[in-house]
Symmetry: C2
Subunit: 489 residues, 2 copies
């Protein structure tokens, strides 16, 4: 059981004057970040938050998110990170399921918070109010053990039931170390965070910053011109993106080229379109394709720089501490044969919160069964063919068809439902639904969509609904979404 | 309990074509290094070495040392690294105490090996003979757990009894990670190893090379002009040195300056003379002073680049995963008060082989009591005042007075003995002895020195012996070596 010193306190003692956080408006050093996090910890203590408590955060990308996150670390509370795009119905489920003692929410989500308050009983505090709380006297931890839970982030899955992924201090630490052994670490590094902090993609940038002693350039809302400016003029050297973001950045860049100092565009969130990769190659943009998920605390497979061109389209090889194999029917497959992607490493979650069955089913002897389909070539490079059982990735957000289907099925007129992704220039994919109504019932497309809107985050709501006589099922009566995708075409 | 993939096999799969090892004569890629290590593992298997066996290695800095070390890792054997400068008497002690199943020795130590063979029974094989063994079929491990013992390296101590420091896979791993978070990791890095591989200083360079995917530039015998050439023309960016080495490099450099690519001279092995540091500052040599010991798997406290000039003379701050405090009489001291240096971190040894009492005495709740004296300033920077209870550091080698004294005391004519370090331009320090003979006995200086030469490595043999009527002792009759040092002056 490894013990480490309090991360940010340690960093602040090592390099207090280095920049920790940069926004368009302001800059914070590690010393300042540490001070503000101590204050946050003291405020949390003042309202009774203790070691081991779960505290939910509903917040966009803003500096206070960092102070809060570190403040929670300081007192040993677990951060439950809520996706701000979720519907009230979904938020309530996660708040209750996670047994959160408190919800801290950004003022801009006042309305959502009010709706939550009418549905469930949870102590909540608006950010502005939190900031004006008088400081208590927190017992700030000087060290912590890596096997303790740091964060809970919800993810759906094949069952449609959202599950809280528990990420330990060690999961985050090992993820960051694995990344740096692949990407290197330069004294002038600066990592731009335009992906949400409530996702492991954004969160991991904040933590790497502390481990590495480099600044996070924090962006509230992704705007290609702002991001390009940060790269071209503000010294950003690394950025985490999904395809849609990179595409818009390249479009905004036009005829210009990025400076040499820009050394890595870490491209995750689903398979990248080949034309985009080829365009980046032409413009000499150093793209590192990567594969990961909440359960692996971000990247677990990344294409290292020397193979960027020769292995175009591959997600790369498992990071130094990690391992990968392709399985089918319990057997490990040889190269070039497609099967389920199975990964192992100290960055892999210890399991799902209060979901022991799902944990046991998905993690066997330390190996995580991702549900994703892919193969490795003869050199060990991973090619991802299909994300988790029909996972739809829309603008970098995961949508599990089963989750959307179960909401549609809860409509009294619906007998059967099937949801699949449809290609979208803007979002990569968007969900569409096929619905079979009960013989005696009627419902319109608008009825179904309205039903979904009440219960699902906007990005999960089908953009179209097709009424059908039957849904394609196989011999064992399982829905064949592959067939549905053909129907779209 | 963290499991990692086989380090070198992993590195060879990630970046097979990168350079792993460079000597003046030849270059090996990680693919090649992996192949040769597999061969070494197969040969070890052929002569019956199994998972868990202890295998002693008596070898200078040569490529085969690497193949052997990794070969031992591959089959799960523990490497017992023998200091080639030790006397036969000392080597026999370590071979027997470590329960080594086999001694593999460099041909140049044929004579020493023969003497060992006449003293104790141990299976031994000369390197040339080892290389010609037909390969067996080793069960090469694909992964290992970080809590397993990787290396045993002997160190003496206040008791004079050499103790085998057990370093786990995790100790080495965490040491390397802590180092890179301080020094950074550049794609063109190349680390020169001119310190002995049988010391943790050299060994740690070989392991970092595998973790980082950078080459080791291996030097058999330190020659300032060869090392300077490697820095100026062969692309070496980092080098580990002790003061004497750096001094000779600077002398050889003359009016020239090092290229910008040379980014770190990691200076360990005892307090550095201020004039040397000032000279380096003038010549813009990027010196990183560091403090560590076998028990910490090399560095644990290092002066990071931004404080090189403002904190000249300090050993720096504990690396990111590590902690430090100064204690006296069981209390933690405030800044600027001198006391014992106590350190903690995942790079700290799990203990001494078969010496449970010494382990319990020196490591309490994860904190290692170093026996060294120092203080931290108000910013947390460590200043080492005095190494472990009168430790003498001669040319980077540790000499424990108690060990030399116990050898002198074994001479039948000697009643009391005290050993201290005397300043030496060439070696930093050399040991000298004060001896009180039994009233009835006589012995000459030459008698005492000859007695020591038989039983001690040459560098530990006193360069001078002074016969005295009494030795300075305190109220509790403890030898006051401080007084002896005054006598020298």
């Amino acid at each position: 059981m490894v013990t480490m010193p309090n991360w940010l306190a340690k960093r602040a003692s090592l390099t207090p004057d280095r920049k920790a956080l940069i926004t368009k408006e302001e800059t914070w050093t590690f010393r300042k970040l540490h001070e503000l996090s101590k204050i946050a910890a003291n405020k949390l203590a003042a309202i009774g938050i203790k070691d081991g408590d779960h505290v939910a955060v509903l917040m966009g990308n803003r500096p206070e998110f960092l102070f809060l996150l570190h403040g929670l670390e300081y007192i040993g509370a677990v951060a439950v990170l809520l996706n701000t795009k979720l519907a009230v119905y979904e938020l309530c489920y996660q708040l209750v399921d996670s047994e959160s003692k408190l919800l801290i929410y950004d003022d801009i989500f006042e309305e959502k918070a009010a709706d939550i308050f009418t549905s469930i009983e949870v102590k909540k505090v608006r950010l502005t109010d939190f900031l004006s709380i008088e400081e208590g006297n927190a017992d700030i931890r000087s060290e912590w053990q890596l096997d303790r839970v740091h964060t809970i982030i919800y993810t759906s899955g094949t069952t449609g039931q959202p599950k809280g992924v528990m990420l330990t201090y060690g999961n985050h630490w090992w993820s960051a170390v694995g990344s740096t052994l692949n990407l290197g670490l330069y004294s002038d590094d600066c990592w731009l965070c335009a992906t949400p902090i409530f996702h492991v993609s954004g969160l991991s940038i904040l933590l790497r910053s502390v481990f590495y002693g480099i600044p996070v350039y924090l962006v509230n809302k992704f705007e290609p011109c702002e991001v390009n400016d940060a790269i071209e003029k503000q010294g950003v050297t690394i950025i985490s993106v999904v395809s849609q973001m990179l595409m818009r950045m390249v479009a905004d860049l036009g005829e210009r080229k990025y400076p040499k100092s820009f050394r890595c565009a870490l491209l995750g969130g689903g398979p990248a379109p080949k034309p985009l990769l080829e365009m980046c190659r032409e413009k000499e943009i150093p793209v590192y394709q990567t594969y990961g998920m909440t359960e692996t605390a971000s990247q677990i497979v990344t294409l290292s720089s020397e193979y960027m061109l020769t292995k175009l389209g591959s997600a790369g090889m498992p990071l130094f501490p990690a391992q990968l194999r392709i399985e089918k029917d319990g057997a490990v497959l040889p190269p070039n044969e497609a099967g389920e992607i199975v990964v192992k490493g100290p960055n892999v979650t210890i399991g799902y919160w209060k979901k022991e069955d799902a944990t046991k089913k998905n993690i066997i002897d330390g190996w995580l069964y991702t549900g994703d389909i892919g193969y490795v070539d003869e050199d060990g490079f991973l090619y991802v063919l299909d994300r988790r059982t029909d996972l739809i990735i829309s603008g970098g957000e995961n949508i599990y068809p089963a989750e959307v289907e179960s909401v549609i099925l809860s409509h009294p007129s619906v007998e059967e439902a099937g949801v699949v992704g449809k290609d979208s220039v803007e979002w990569g994919q968007v969900p569409v639904a096929f619905v079979k109504l009960f013989d005696s019932q009627t419902a319109t497309k608008e009825d179904i969509i309205a039903h979904c809107k009440e219960r699902l985050a906007k990005y999960k709501v089908p953009t179209d609904v097709f009424f059908v006589d039957h849904l394609p099922r196989n011999a064992s009566n399982k829905l064949m979404r592959k067939e549905l995708r053909k129907w779209i075409r």
